[in-house]
């Protein structure tokens, strides 16, 4: 249960594939044009329900709830051995 007033991220389809701009590569033309936006739900609901939210700006937008309490998940990625090698090469190259 996601209570009214919870902070969520919704997804909304803005344009279906046949409504999209004509000047697009094939792979883009065949997929819908979508939006993500966050805000406070205006009604009780469940994950994946269609709901109205009030955004930070105060606008009302309707879409499917994709996330409850959306967190920032971007980070420094997985260990990349090549990055370490890059460092070692630069140091070696400069001091050689």
């Amino acid at each position: 249960m996601i209570n009214k007033g919870s902070y969520v991220r919704i997804r909304k389809t803005l344009l279906q594939p046949d409504e999209r701009s004509s000047n697009l590569p094939e792979e883009t033309k065949k997929v819908p044009y979508k939006m993500w936006i966050k805000g406070y739900t205006l009604e009780d609901g469940e994950l994946f329900d269609i709901a109205e939210i009030k955004t930070i700006d105060g606008r009302i937008v309707k879409g499917r709830i994709k996330e409850h309490n959306p967190a920032y998940k971007h980070n420094y990625g997985d260990f990349v051995p090549e990055a370490l090698e890059l460092r070692n090469r630069i140091k070696g190259d400069f001091h050689e």
């Binding site: 803005l14 883009t28 044009y33 979508k34 920032y72 971007h74 990625g77 460092r87 400069f94």
Partner: protein, 459 residues
Amino acid sequence: MSNAYDTLMARKAEIMKKSVGIDYSIYEYEGIGFDFEKLMSDQGYTIESIREIQLENMVGNTPLVELKNITAYARKFAKKGYGARIFLKDEAANLSGSFKARRAALAVHQAKKLGYKGVIAATSGNYGAAVAALAAKAGLKCIIVQECFDSKNVSQPEILEKARKCEAYGAEVVQLSVGPELFYYFLKLLDETGYFNASLYSPYGIRGIETLGHEIAEEIMAKEGKYPEAVGVTNAGGGNLTGTARGLKDAGAINTKIIAASVDLTGLHMASDTDFNKKSFTTGHTGFGIPFSTYPDRSDVPRSAGRPLRYMDQYVVVNQGSVFYMTESLALLEGMERGPAGNTSLAAAFSLAQTMKENEIIVVQETEYTGAGKHLLPQLSFAKKNGVELLFGNPLDEVPGKNIIFPENGGLLQHRELNMDDLRRSYLKRYKEVTLTEEDYQFLCDELNVAKEKILELL
């Protein structure tokens, strides 16, 4: 196209006029041109007043540092007597962490002056954070519209970080999937909210960078008793180059060579859903740099104030692996950890310096902040997840989207030169069938910075 789309797009001119506060039609000539200088000077700002607005907002007066170790490194690969001194303007020191704050400071000031309640900007880059930060300081509402994710709902880590930063300043962030229809939704938001269009390409968005050119000219003159021989500018939408060059010239550095640099993303289509997450740079690349140079008016205002071919003396590209190489070099040799995209012109300068004499000076005019997502490590990790191979070798062999090739050693880090006449020809191609008047030719001479004979030859 749906009716909603067509109806809204048909009202484009009206929405634009209301949201930028400029009637562009008064600058139009009868033929193909418009009065660029008047558009720039008409908005009530002088270089002094721009400086004042920026300083009040913690923008500008960034440190100019000589990169002595990187210069020494470049000289290892230069002929005797060659290897120009490389200086760097640390623009990451601006409020919000990039030179974009210079542009945002003026745009937001204008929005406030004209009585708008809020500002909107369409950008996946640092400009969003800059507008959000300045809007927060000015007490204005702010919406940032980003192109962010592909049809599999996968986002560029760099863009997610910028969204976080915008939200930290209290802005609303609208994230869209891949495609040029961003402009449609952007117009819809302008119409719905009545906010100011803080376009990167308005006169405010460009004049705000003129202070950067001024500072470079004045600071190098004060330190070295001369203007720099060259300034390297990372080129995407053309505003950075236009503003910096105008500032340099206005300050007196009329002979300083203006060198554009972009990351080479040849072969990746900017509107492609599948190519979107195969690139490791979301700005500063040829996918923006070339089309915006050869057709500046593709922007989100009727006439772009970013017109790079007016000022560009040379245009070079470097590969993704080289920019990552210099990003690491800057941290390892100079103790400056900065964001990769901002180091595009640094990578170019490392190679260009080797073609210049050792008593000459090349200034790299920007850096940007770095952090989770917007850093070499997450970007390389993301590239690998998207099937891009990481290799060491000759960076000129890199195939964007397939691999990233780091130079095997500093000596292999080389720029590739673009043919300026090819760019000019591409600009002129839409006038091939047009009967041009003398006024039109004059406009084209100004636009391409060449004489009429050259225009005739290129046409």
